[in-house]
Symmetry: C2
Subunit: 152 residues, 2 copies
DNA sequence: ACTTAGACTGAGACTGAGTCCCATTGCAAG
DNA sequence: CTTGCAATGGGACTCAGTCTCAGTCTAAGT
């Protein structure tokens, strides 16, 4: 993710994605590239409906399959919002650890980050509670439910 | 929710639920009472599958309908775990503010509470960030993803 | 006790996001 | 060029969840 100025960050990201896919004997095809492009340029997590709209030539079955492949390669993360529709964003090791504001009216998702100190306190508290319950935590998600500016 | 010892806390809860339903011209029928009983005695959030198993005589359509009614009366909260199945728990004003450990292997949900001070810090941070984004927060949920003791 | 309004129920039909299947195509290595 | 396997496309399929509608129950009025 770090890099020279010669070609943009986006190209670097594509290179990284390709490497990761190759590692599990998968190819970085046009459809997968288009999905990654869409997710990155959208800024916010994208839904299947977004993909269908913005990539009308990509069949649904291919979109779902590609998303599953990208997810199992650890490149994309599926998030479940307040509505019934799954949304997808880049995995955290391609971006930075962050959380979400979820609009209960329109389903929109906005990325936010917490102050580093607070984030550390939360992680420590989670580790402690989980160990008491015999639970092995992989990560956490903090979702804020509410109404976005456009819907208010 | 507070009360004499004459009849248990559970009876009090039922009284409260009935009052709340009456307030919106709804009745506290046997089916609804059975669902509330199940949710309370289960301790953890229950799925539709749990309800179907434990209340075999309650038709699916009635279970869903009752859950929707109880949810819109603010008595029950729907939570979306890691799997595709919705789960239900008592609304927070009938219990206390808490969060969840979600097992990604079996879908089990375990309730946890954070230290009051930390919880306050998180809430304040959320208020601040949300206001910058023009977002009006109603509440938040912190889910810890991982593997439970039984699945490890 | 009768009536009545409307809340509630049960059973099944229906919806649609997401999955599966399979014949075909594309890519990379020997 | 051929052989193996990843990937595609599109249509059929699954099934959690929703909707419909005719019939039932309950509370309140008379």
């Amino acid at each position: 993710m770090a890099n020279t100025e010669a070609h943009g960050l986006l190209d670097d990201l594509h290179d990284l994605v390709e490497t990761r896919l190759r590692r599990v004997d998968q190819r970085y095809t046009a459809g997968r590239r288009a999905i990654i492009d869409l997710i990155v340029t959208a800024g916010n997590p994208v839904s299947i409906a977004d993909i269908a709209t913005r990539l009308p030539d990509l069949p649904r079955s291919s979109a779902y399959r590609n998303l599953v492949d990208l997810e199992s390669a650890g490149l994309v993360r599926r998030i479940v919002g307040h509505d019934e529709f799954a949304r997808f964003e880049l995995a955290e090791d391609l971006t930075e650890h962050h959380h979400h504001l979820l609009c209960v009216a329109c389903g929109k998702v906005i990325d936010i980050t917490l102050a580093a100190g607070l984030e550390r306190n939360v992680s420590e508290a989670i580790e402690e509670i989980a160990s008491v319950e015999g639970f092995r935590p992989h990560g956490h998600r903090l979702d804020v439910l509410g109404v976005c500016g456009a819907c208010a």
